[in-house]
């Protein structure tokens, strides 16, 4: 692991007059180096997206598009049994929308990261992963993909020659095999313990699994889930710890 790492979070998950919990976007934006902007299908309306772009610009944060399933009620967390072709169109549609709003602010998209159930679908479903990579090579050549390491999308991207940014999940537990223990509701975590875990992962390339094993991890970006309880405190602790250790925070 080099002495530089990216810190990403999902941003702009409001919709109309609704916002999530404490809505710490403005504070988070000061700490992260890349932001995944909800693109309207599971959260984020056009004015929310634009507000997030302006905020990202002010803080010099790289902006990525965060496409999800078309499911506002379910917040993109429920799988929808759509064909690979339909889903690729959904992704391109959302990418185009955020890219247009970004261009108006003089910003170019830095990356694409799928959201929620669509992220998991691309990690598992090889036909979708391959069709998506093929489409992105045409529609957005050179756009990096934030992926789950060792996933269908990572493999398809590598085969297609698309740059992959692998993530480390600061606020999730790891299994012995290096996979993430996915939970519906994340408990309130100790920010300092998360910071310890992140620093160890960055400097030694290992993480302690839930059953106490040392598991090797390779990644270029740290993902902080903005809806984890106490997300802001976690982000502050991680930022403080990495900076103190001389690790430079910068987008990939």
């Amino acid at each position: 692991m080099g002495a530089q790492i990216d810190l990403n979070a999902d941003i702009g998950e409001r919709f109309g007059h609704w916002h999530l919990g404490d809505d710490v976007d403005a504070e988070l934006m000061a700490l992260i180096t890349s932001a995944n902007l909800a693109a309207g299908f599971h959260a984020g309306d056009p004015s929310v997206i634009d507000a997030s772009l302006v905020l990202a610009q002010r803080h010099g944060v790289a902006v990525g598009v965060h496409p999800g399933f078309g499911d506002l009620v379910g917040f993109g967390r429920r799988h929808i049994d759509a064909s690979a072709a339909e889903l690729v169109n959904d992704v391109l549609y959302q990418l185009g929308a955020v890219a247009a709003l970004a261009a108006r602010r003089g910003l170019a998209l830095h990356h694409l990261k799928l959201h929620g159930a669509l992220f998991m679908h691309a990690a598992r479903d090889q036909p979708f992963a391959e069709l998506l990579v093929e489409a992105l090579l045409q529609a957005a050549p050179g756009l990096p993909l934030y992926c789950l390491p060792d996933s269908a999308l990572t493999r398809a991207a590598r085969t297609g020659g698309v740059k992959v940014v692998r993530e480390f999940y600061a606020d999730r537990d790891y299994s012995r095999d290096g996979s993430i223990v996915f939970v519906r509701r994340v408990p309130r975590l100790d920010p300092e313990a998360v910071a310890d875990k992140v620093l160890t992962a960055c400097s030694e390339g290992v993480v302690a699994s839930v059953d106490g094993e040392r598991v090797e991890v390779e990644f270029e970006s740290i993902c902080l889930h903005s809806d984890t309880p106490g997300a802001l405190e976690i982000a502050r602790a991680v930022h403080r710890r990495l900076t103190a250790a001389g690790i430079r925070l910068a987008a990939v």
Binding site: R14, F15, H17, W18, L20, D45, L72, V73, F75
Partner: protein
Amino acid sequence: MARLLLNCDMGESFGNWRIADEAPAMALVDQANLACGFHAGDFSVMAQSVRLAVEHGVSIGAHPGYPDLQGFGRRAMEMRIDEVTDLLLYQIGALDAFCRANGTQVDYVKPHGALYHAIYQRAEMLDAALRACRLYREGLPLMTLAVADRAPVLAAAEAAGVPVLFEAFADRAYLADGRLSPRSRADAVHKDPERIVAQALAIARGEAFDDIDGQPMQLAADTLCVHGDNPQSRAVLARLRAALEAQ
């Protein structure tokens, strides 16, 4: 004369986005106006809100709005008059299905936001709303703003064969004609609990209170719209309830 009732807009969460816990306010109101999915409230929120209202013995009203989640139904939309009737029927029917599943029914219809305002501002919109109520069920009342001159509303309602519930506001300043003062004016919303309770009691007793220009005005109403989405508004709500019950 019946006590002035208290009604509150509720069921305004949507999916992952949650509005504050509504149970405390539900314990204090007589009527719950439940969002029907178009401007707020998804199917699960509707089901939960109906159950909560039934548990507290609160009368349920449909609170239909324009199909505008993003704008929370607060933006005026251009719509044909026949579409407005269909828009209302659709949402009343949807909420009533949840009511029936819980052994109750929609007791009245109170349109939401920009649609609410259009109904007391334009006669053809009032007619469209009255038509929806009459088509849905005989005797289903429409809740609308208690304006100073009720005669045109009552005439239209009588022609349509629909009962009307007139609604007043204790925390809003009024213009002389009984319309709500626009929120763009700094003094449009009363913040002082004393003033809110005093205005409520004046309306309950049929006495005069000050309009936004300090002139005396009188409004007759059947129900008072209240808010209960934060501790401050709930404290005022509890005081209002006690004051009205002491009448």
